[in-house]
Point group: C2
Chain length 257, copies 2
DNA sequence: GCAAAAGTGTTTAGCTTACACCCATGT
DNA sequence: ACATGGGTGTAAGCTAAACACTTTTGC
């Protein structure tokens, strides 16, 4: 049946490779993403160009550092997906940072942190007019609720709505079968803190008693520090650190309704 | 805390973009992958260059078609991950094809099906000596057991061991919570056929009775055709088609031992 | 004392596992 | 008759959902 199938084709061309970032955190019990305000009424995701012989992951981590000052050791970074366009390939990464670290990043800090010197454009670079990776200067960065961003498909430029949607869905899914939820928490946190992260990411409510039992009986999910909270309303809570495991057995499934 | 963090950097360069394929099927109750025999003792995964303004997915599907003659409507194709190297970006795709379709692809067919005319190399293409996407002619393609390929890390060239490992793990994981297993089956298949797919991919054995109940009671996983098998040993089995659902609720978990 | 959040115990329902058992066909 | 694989029934064990209840703090 199958025979020679050499289709005629033109010469392969090189493509500009950019990295885009979906940076998520939880602020005030709400899942928010870091976006740059460029054109009026249109925000976009942070991005960076692959420079020199950088690894893709290193590009993502460097761009994240330029935006937030956070080292990759403090942040969860994983590859999301790659989106191809003519002459332009975008590799999207998902970054998850603790809410307390996000609070330290003010708009003032962010305003000048993004930039691309843009010297020495490659001779082959006949990129499309919609080239987005350059001239990121003078843009303000802000944390916007994911719910609003996803509900209004037009408020994100280019294909960034798709990328954000993929990133949020990845995060939501991974909370079920992995310990990724702790990446939203600071070094030490209570089980209630972790539950509020789950509730914010899943946009739902969870029974505090059952959640407590579930995470506290899953071996190596949480490690007790011996310290407890104080000064807050209610009974003091034990403080925990992330444990060693990555996967949750059995999973902690989202409510079905 | 954070201030201006414009690190000095050189001009961004364009990269050659190639697509690599992890093509899996089940032959004789064994999970096998399609590999090309190039250098002695070293096989590699099929690959294709992105030509013209192709979408990445289209490149993957075109390359698969050149190799196997299969249309993308008959095959499950999903993006796996992207691996970055200097001047070279590889986007890996996972393809799953039915065993009966794989049997129709003989070595004779495959021998001449792979090729790259290689005209008009881009002036910017100062790719590393290990450029792998070209001169794929004269290579023979064959189905090799995944177990053997993964047990011998040196038998796959470049980073193809890593790519294959990622692809196999993706397939194994997705059998748990999705209906991907049916992609290994022909249009009509029995529950026993599907169970042998699960057993081959997971390299384990499953209780036929419990597996039968599980898949037959999960709504919309399988659709009865009304036909039954005949001519084989044992009681005839009902023939099914894939149902509409993509996700399995609840999941069909791998045995833990 | 009262509100608020942490944490424990108990019941019930659903799902998985293991396995006994029956069914329908080829040889 | 018997081997072979298809298919059903059932009891035991594990898990999660729902919720009553106790504990320990701040005010």
């Amino acid at each position: 049946m199958a025979a020679v199938r050499n289709a005629p084709r033109n010469a392969p061309r090189n493509a500009a490779v950019t990295v885009h970032l979906v940076i998520l955190t939880v602020l005030d019990d709400e899942l928010v993403a870091l976006v740059l305000a460029g054109n009026p009424n249109r925000v976009r995701l942070p991005s960076g160009r692959v420079v020199d012989d950088e690894e893709l992951r290193r590009t993502a981590e460097r761009t994240l550092w330029e935006l937030t000052g956070l080292e990759s050791t403090d942040v969860h970074v994983e590859q999301l997906a790659t989106y191809g366009a003519p002459r332009q390939v975008t590799v999207a990464y998902l970054a998850i940072i603790p809410g307390v670290a996000a609070e330290a990043i003010t708009d003032v800090d962010l305003e000048v942190a993004v930039g691309d010197d843009g010297v020495g454009i490659d001779p082959d670079d006949d990129s499309a007019p919609e080239d987005e990776a350059d001239r990121a200067d003078e843009d303000e960065a802000e944390w916007l609720p994911v719910g609003e961003l996803l509900d209004n498909p037009d408020c994100l430029a280019f294909n960034h709505h798709q990328i954000l949607d993929d990133g949020v869905e990845r995060a939501r899914a991974k909370l079920e079968y992995s310990t990724l939820g702790t990446a939203f928490c600071p070094d030490e946190f209570t089980i209630g803190d972790l539950r509020r992260v789950y509730q914010a990411v899943w946009d739902t409510t969870l029974d505090p008693r059952n959640f407590h039992r579930k995470v506290s009986t899953t071996a190596d999910f949480l490690v007790e520090t011996g310290r407890i909270t104080s000064g807050e309303s209610g009974r003091p809570a034990r403080l925990f650190r992330r444990g060693d495991v990555d996967r949750l057995h059995p999973a902690l499934l989202r409510p079905t309704d």
